[in-house]
Symmetry: C2
Subunit: 165 residues, 2 copies
DNA sequence: CTCCCTACCTAACGGTCGTTAGCATTGAGT
DNA sequence: ACTCAATGCTAACGACCGTTAGGTAGGGAG
């Protein structure tokens, strides 16, 4: 709170006429994060093939991380300092996001667009890991679309064998 | 330090006849982590094909995370509270580990075992992300070999098309 | 037996942090 | 013109935390 006040050019105590508590601020940052990440998925057209949807999902996720690195960091790492039922609420919201991502893989497999023996849990976790880990190394503001596409290319085609295009 | 002392059944102040500072403890935990992760890579036979080596590397990494979850968490998340030149030393050690992992992909491609257009940086990052993110969800002590193999299968063969075995 | 190192204790210091109380200023709406 | 809500200030609180000072008990080495 001290650093925040200093950055605002204001005394520490003055913050409390603007917010109820530090927990409240954390909660609001988390909601902002949830909104941003979900909005990314909302922007994906339903009718696209699975591979494309996964590519766009990765793009959207990485874009949020790069453009709102602070919010993303809170969403990915700092959420665990949230207490009480707000924490439960966040965890549920987070799970919902992960489930939406996993659904992309499951649907792709069930519709025959992805390999029939696909372990959708492992695949989604792999994608989510890359997406979530990015906050540790991504330069803020950097263009991430190309990077997301490279991740997707590896996810989709693997690393073995030869190029298919 | 208070919690540590309590867990040891000892007064807070008594810790300082056993260690110089909290930073010292953090540093030692980090070294333990570095040793464990590097030892995992050391155990991989040089003559194996690239896919196999990557599979074993992922197995080793996930095993460290599951068997030494506390050390792994410090290694992956808490290292940033280390200060001064010890921090620099750790960052270098960490980079060395990542470079060893990346080398597996690069060598695999250069030897013709992996696709010739492989982006080894992206591939290594994808694998490392999955490995590093695991500390957030892995149940401590759980058997992780099968999980590592599933990740590897997706990495190697991708999610598109049909099973090759 | 004596020395001394290790491990432990109690007590406190100095600092940080989130928060609160009480008060002053200001500006928009009635 | 008066009100009142928003915004800010100063000062302090209580709690926590890493660390230190100074002292005690005990056991092994010389």
């Amino acid at each position: 709170m001290g650093e925040l006040a200093a950055a605002m050019g204001v005394q520490k105590g003055s913050l409390y006429s603007l917010t109820a508590s530090k927990q409240e601020l954390l909660y609001e940052a988390l909601r902002e994060g949830a909104t941003a990440f979900h909005a990314g998925l909302d922007g994906i057209p339903e009718e696209l093939p699975a591979g494309e949807k996964i590519r766009l999902a990765l793009r959207a996720h990485l874009r949020v991380v790069a453009e709102q690195l602070d919010v993303a960091t809170v969403f990915i790492r700092e959420w665990r300092y949230l207490e009480g039922e707000r924490r439960d609420e966040f965890v549920a919201e987070r799970r919902r996001y992960e489930e939406r991502l996993r659904a992309l893989f499951r649907e792709g497999r069930d519709r025959g667009e992805l390999r029939s023996d696909l372990d959708e849990g492992a695949a989604a976790l792999l994608a989510l890991s890359a997406a979530n880990w990015a906050y540790t190394w991504l330069d803020p503001g950097r263009d991430t679309d190309e990077l997301a596409d490279r991740f997707t290319a590896i996810l989709v085609d693997g690393i073995r064998g030869y190029a298919t295009r």
